[in-house]
């Protein structure tokens, strides 16, 4: 039995390495996609959900809630992807000889990393809600955190000679 598990582990590893190489090639050009925070906020609004619950039948509500969760997942994935791109883009600035730039870049990276963690947690909560639509586990912290990230990226852009305000606008 253990022998089978070990062989399966080794084969899984080979597949994982192949996928990692493919994904690295695919993401050689990283893409930023703007997030409409107002729309995202609306999706997370529990009053909105209660309104739908009152107005719709149970089966329709479950259907629409699952649809809503699918849309939310896409937003969370986009936020996670943007946070990852910001992490990567700020790495060079973190090594800047200008202390203010280096400090702000470190703060941006820290925040982006925290957002990535929150996205993982949000995905987990949304999966649970999808399985059990009666649950209400809002990933509400993401909206203010992402807004702060935008502001910090903008501040970093202002500090750098090579202005990266477009990056702040893009996320």
């Amino acid at each position: 039995m253990i022998t089978v598990i070990v062989i399966a582990l080794a084969l899984c590893a080979v597949v994982l390495f192949y996928m990692a190489v493919r994904s690295r090639r695919k993401h050689a050009v990283q893409s930023l996609r703007q997030v409409d925070l107002a729309a995202f906020h609306t999706l997370l609004d529990r009053d909105d959900e209660l309104f739908l619950k009152r107005k719709l039948s149970r089966s329709k509500f479950i259907g629409i809630k699952r649809h809503r969760i699918r849309v939310t997942v896409r937003y969370v994935a986009r936020i996670a992807s943007n946070a990852s791109t910001v992490l990567h883009a700020s790495e060079a600035a973190r090594l800047s000889p200008m202390p203010q730039v280096a400090l702000t870049a470190a703060q941006v990276m820290d925040l982006a990393a925290q957002i990535r963690l929150q996205c993982l947690l949000a995905m987990f909560k949304l999966s649970l809600e999808y399985a059990m639509p009666s649950l209400q586990l809002t990933p509400a912290m993401l909206v203010p955190a992402y807004q702060t990230l935008r502001e910090n990226v903008r501040r970093l852009g202002d500090l750098q000679t090579q202005n990266s305000v477009p990056l702040a606008n893009a996320i």
Binding site: M1, I2, T3, I5, V6, I7, L9, A10, L11, C12, A13, V14, L16, F17, A20, V21, S23, R24, A28, V29, Q30, S31, L32, R33, Q34, D36, A38, A39, T42, L43, L52, K55, L56, K60, I64, H67, V71, A80, S81, A83, S84, T85, L87, H88, A89, E91, A92, R94, M109, D110, L111, A113, Q114, R116, L117, L120, P166, L167, A170
Partner: protein, 246 residues
């Protein structure tokens, strides 16, 4: 072409590749940034040099080979640790959580390795078999940790630097094939065993080529083109209103 002579040719090729890799590490001064990986590569070359003269001396070769294998595995684990440190060093927010998960992964893999050793211990009658079973266990830990590195960096959205990706990929490929080789060795016929040895030699050469390729490739430039699609709020609201008014 007989499999035996093919394995021999691959062995000669591996020596040439190891010399080239050592030279690359020295010329590019990569040993400063990756001391453990450099130690691993230097040691592998030393292992080849040390086992070469004792090739025809049965027991001397056996002990030299297995002692070198044990040191090589320890260095391999140190390389995994080095990559882990390098990847998470700039990310203080993730480092703590990643370290905890890393430790949990180490414990889980040690348990799996102990299970594998226990299962095979009944057939371990000779010293050679005991050594092989132990190697199997340590390879499980090594490969599992490399997989953890790939999975965690993907989950946290971390970007691998080119060299670190190459080091992990080469080490992982080699460890995966070694693990299959060591696990299946006793279950196969002599002919199949020889084919497995050929695969092992190919994978080792492949790993050397991966390391050389990633070390010699020009450094990548970060690019961040912007792709801004239209917002979905209006669409969403319209869909909801249609459903409510239906």
């Amino acid at each position: 072409m007989p499999v035996g002579s093919l394995i021999h040719d691959l062995w000669i090729a591996s020596i040439a590749l190891q010399v080239m890799l050592t030279a690359t590490l020295l010329v590019k001064r990569a040993w400063r940034k990756y001391p453990m990986f450099s130690a691993y590569v230097f040691f592998t070359l030393f292992e080849t040099a040390a086992t070469l003269p004792s090739h025809r001396l049965g027991s001397a070769y056996f002990y030299t080979f297995w002692i070198c294998e044990a040191i090589g595995i320890v260095l391999g684990l140190a390389v995994v640790r080095e990559i882990f440190t390098n990847i998470f060093a700039p990310h203080a927010a993730l480092r703590r959580l990643a370290t905890i998960i890393f430790r949990v992964a180490v414990v889980a893999l040690i348990v799996l390795a102990c299970g594998a050793i226990y299962e095979q211990s009944a057939s371990a009658k000779s010293f050679a078999r005991v050594v092989m079973v132990s190697t199997d266990g340590t390879r499980i830990v090594e490969l599992g940790l490399i997989m953890f590195l790939f999975l965690s960096s993907s989950a946290f959205g971390l970007h691998w630097r080119q060299n670190e990706f190459g080091i992990a990929l080469g080490l992982g490929t080699c460890a995966a094939v070694e693990l299959i080789n060591v696990t299946l060795m006793t279950h196969l016929s002599a002919e199949a065993e020889q084919v497995l040895s050929l695969v092992r030699s190919l994978s080792f050469n492949g790993s050397l080529l991966i390391w050389l390729g990633y070390l010699l490739a020009p450094p990548e430039r970060p690019t961040t083109p912007v792709d801004v699609p239209r917002a979905q709020l209006e669409q969403w609201n319209q869909a909801v209103m249609e459903l409510i008014n239906r």
